[in-house]
């Protein structure tokens, strides 16, 4: 009777036991549907996974298989986004896997205080992310327009003219960098002012993410639900105000609040 593959429980998030969690959905392992495991005031959303694919050894291999990682990441996120529609939740990092329900309950018991506090912080609030992108050429052109113009020493010897050109080029670059920093600072300050909390992430590598333009800001904001409309308006106003620089602001949300939960764990 040992033919059944061993299984574990993949955990997606923790919510209050009193909040509704979605009806069973296909889990990261599509063979199994999501279910809830409760303990005291908390509930975890979980689904079974076959350990020959999701066990420790298999994961070391599979996490390096990009197609596998993509499928699992999208499935995990899909479940979270569905759950987020009806509940306040604390999202868990990808690949949080337990042996059985008793293991999940033990975790809910051990972490009851900090998970409860995290849920308190998140109640009635949403995570939104903003990426600020500018057109590099437009930024350089703006820097040039502001810099002291003309070149009085144009008639000077070629050596001097060369040095002057080099200096001017450097000044232009510095001015463009200042403009970029000022712009990112302004956008972040304006958006942070309407948020409960804010986190600045690392701007993404252009070659990797394929976005057009230079990413000057990659930030996440935790906003009260009734402030979301105001956030949209601020974003639209900032984009309009800096259209000449080819500024684009990409606003996304509400997202599972990965940026606003305790980052240190047991």
């Amino acid at each position: 009777v040992a033919a059944v593959a061993e299984r574990g429980l993949w955990a997606y998030c923790v919510a209050r036991a009193s909040d509704p969690l979605p009806e069973p959905l296909p889990g990261v392992d599509p063979e199994y549907a999501t279910a809830r495991v409760e303990h005291g005031p908390l509930a975890a959303l979980v689904s079974e996974v076959a350990l020959d694919e999701y066990g420790e050894e298999a994961l070391r291999r599979n996490l390096n298989d990009f197609a596998w990682l993509e499928r699992v990441a999208r499935a995990h996120e899909g479940v979270l986004e569905r759950a987020l529609e009806d509940a306040t939740l604390v999202p868990l990092r990808l690949c949080t896997i337990f042996a059985d329900e008793a293991g999940v309950r033990a975790m809910l018991s051990a972490r009851e205080a900090d998970l409860g506090a995290a849920l308190e912080t998140l109640t009635g609030r949403e995570e939104w992310t903003v990426k600020l992108l500018v057109d590099r050429e437009a930024l350089k052109a703006a820097a040039g327009a502001e810099a002291p113009g003309g070149d009085p020493a144009a008639e000077a010897g070629s050596g001097a003219a060369y040095m002057l050109g080099r200096r001017r080029e450097r000044e232009l670059r510095e001015r463009a960098a200042e403009l970029a920093a000022g712009l990112a600072g302004e956008v972040h300050e304006r958006l942070r002012a309407g948020a409960v909390a804010a986190v600045i992430g690392r701007p993404q590598n252009r070659e990797l993410s394929g976005h057009a333009g230079d990413m000057l800001l990659n930030a996440a904001y935790l906003v009260e639900r009734d402030e979301v409309e105001s956030l949209r308006e601020r974003v639209a106003a900032l984009e309009a105000a800096h259209r000449a620089l080819g500024v684009r602001l990409e606003l996304r949300g509400p997202l599972p609040p990965y940026n606003f939960v305790p980052q240190e764990g047991a």
């Binding site: 350990l51 066990g55 390096n64 600045i200 990797l208 764990g265």
Partner: protein, 61 residues
């Protein structure tokens, strides 16, 4: 991972960065040890992030 990743869309890079780089870390008892995940993630993270530029440092100040 790297060459495949380069061709993925921004949303996916973003998603993986979020799901592996943040969120509450709870050691599951199966346990993919947290250290195991981190080893995989270090390589990924190097790809996902760009080196901070002068502008970014200025923002973070």
């Amino acid at each position: 991972v790297s060459e495949e990743l380069v061709h993925q869309d921004v949303a996916l890079v973003d998603l993986i960065d979020r799901l592996l780089g943040s969120g509450v870390v709870i050691a599951g008892d199966i346990t993919l040890s947290v250290a195991g995940i981190d080893l995989v993630y270090v390589g990924l993270r190097a790809l996902v992030s760009s080196v901070a530029t002068a502008e970014q440092k200025a923002i973070a100040r």
